[in-house]
Amino acid sequence: MSALGGPKQAGGIQPPTAMGLVLGIVLIIIALILAFFLVQMAGLIALIGIIIGGVLIGFGVHFVPVGGAPAAMGQAPGIATGVAMLAAGAGLAGLFGGAWAAPLGFAVALAGGAIGGGLLMAITCTMVNVIYVFGMGIPAASGKVDKDPITGDSFPEYKSQGTEGHGLPFISWVGGVIGGALGGLGGTLIYLELLDVYQAQLPVILNATVEQIAPIAISLAGIFAVAMFLINAVLAAYNITGTIEGPHDPKFKRFPRAIIAAAVASAVAGIFAIGLLELVGVF
């Protein structure tokens, strides 16, 4: 899953087309109106939460250092996995922690989700460096900048010949943790909003207590959170075109496009998730 072929890119970053922007804004407004119409204030807040969650996921994916196939050979810096799925791994580990802390309160659950994702990335990035340094004897060096923005380490002389850098310089490590934290935060936010909506609606529709329908609400909210996580992560991966070194990479400046795309995709998917139970029993 490395950057292969693809359409010709003109020099510089291509901004979103006007039609795309207008369409996006129109879709978000329609979704917000529908949310208010269907589930009143609670629905509106839930949809805004889902949109923010999707944006956080799309933004967070840009921080995660992914090198793709060349990284597996020590030819490029970053982690040697696909970007969407690495972000998904971090975000879902965060969702695990956030869902566990859900009964304790909104803020605690969100923080738990963020820390869960950040912790997975912290440990993974450290072990990647352990392998590179102690297993392969290769120091970390970035190919896109000459000096590390945080630590001031210089890179050109630590880059082996014929490669574009290797390992995880400290800026990439920090980027990975931030990306994991944002992904976990976004995923948990989507999960919590949907859980609230379903736990309010299901007891009324099915004439049961909140504890009885809990497995259904948790399951639905969980699978929708995973699905929306993947949609947003893949759109962000399309934005990055496969590999990125971290926040210092010039490709990072493309993130506004992914934020808009993630917001619109989350709004449209979110309105179907929020309005899920409106038609139960109608037909």
Binding site: M1, S2, A3, L4, G5, G6, P7, P16, T17, M19, G20, L21, L23, G24, L27, G68, A69, G82, A84, M85, L206, A208, P215, I216, S219, G222, I223, F224, V226, A227, M228, F229, L230, I231, A233, V234, L235, A237, Y238, N239, I240, T241, G242, R257, A258, I260, A261, V264, A265, V268, A269, F272, G275, L276, L277, L279, V280, G281, V282, F283
Partner: protein
């Protein structure tokens, strides 16, 4: 230096497969409605067959999309397809008898939005992106709905959230041991996500042939049917599940055998315990 995605030419035109796929899978899903008509879940296997037809269609769509230069690899297309599809399938399931039609329409909407975002906002600028993502979202939704209908005997939401557990010989309805309550829908989601992209991903290369790729797609579909049939023992009557399992195993054995024959036909050489055949003229 990385792998180039090349697509073999020739074979059945994509639009033909689209029509057969769409019409065929919707009809097959509707045949599971015979369960409700006859008050017995013996026709659940039609849902699995619908998923197989949808997967064949989806594989050709991914091939079509990649021939236009999708840069970041095949598996992400599968993820975004199933991500949109599972939301659409669960939403459509709430509309009772109209579930397959509503699912297709909702999946088309979500897929269109994702495609427009990818083309216009993230500027992938691939000509067939929007149409392909619409098709993939529909394929994903039908796969989820079909396998879910096969597992619990109905494609209606209320059927998916109620299950039965037996306590000392008494059976009581419970929300926890249902398709959604037990989160089997997550397994179906992941089965579809891997199956839809596996055939094209596995047959990637200059010698890719359409009949071999589509045979592999059918084989992945029947394999998914086998495991979902085993899981359906927890939801539907034992004899109905056995019928489904037998049909799935027969289908899988047939497609697997034919796939191996087709691979033998296409391979350069079919050697057993032979050394490396260096190409003429050396490396």
């Amino acid at each position: 230096m990385s792998v180039k995605i090349e697509v073999g030419a020739g074979g059945i035109p994509h639009n033909q497969i689209l029509i057969y796929g769409l019409v065929g899978s919707v009809i097959l899903i509707y045949l599971t409605y015979l369960n409700t008509y006859m008050q017995a879940p013996y026709f659940a296997f039609f849902g699995g067959l619908a998923a197989v037809v949808a997967l064949i269609w989806g594989t050709d769509t991914i091939k079509h999309l990649c021939s236009y230069g999708l840069g970041t690899g095949v598996p992400s297309a599968g993820m975004i397809a199933l991500g949109s599809g599972v939301i659409a399938a669960l939403f459509g399931a709430t509309t009772g008898p109209f579930a397959p039609i509503v699912t297709v329409i909702v999946a088309a909407i979500i897929g269109a939005v994702a495609g427009l975002m990818a083309n216009a906002v993230v500027r992938m600028d691939i000509p067939v992106m929007v149409v392909s993502l619409i098709e993939l979202a529909i394929v994903g939704a039908i796969t989820v709905l079909g396998l879910a209908a096969m597992a619990c005997g109905t494609f209606e939401f209320l059927g998916m959230i109620t299950g039965q557990i037996s306590f000392f010989g008494f059976t009581i309805t419970s929300y926890e041991t249902s398709l959604i309550g037990g989160s089997i829908i997550a397994v179906i989601f992941m089965l579809g996500a891997i199956a839809i992209q596996h055939s094209f991903n596995a047959c990637l290369g200059p010698g890719e042939q359409q009949d071999r790729t589509l045979m592999l797609a059918a084989e992945c579909g029947f394999l998914s049917m086998i495991v979902v049939a085993i899981m359906s023992f927890a939801f539907i009557d034992r004899y109905a599940a056995i019928i489904t399992l037998v049909i799935a195993i027969i289908g899988w054995l047939y497609t697997y055998k034919k796939y191996i024959e087709l691979s033998k036909r296409d391979a350069y050489a079919w050697l057993d315990a032979q050394p490396i055949l260096e190409p003429k003229g050396g490396a």
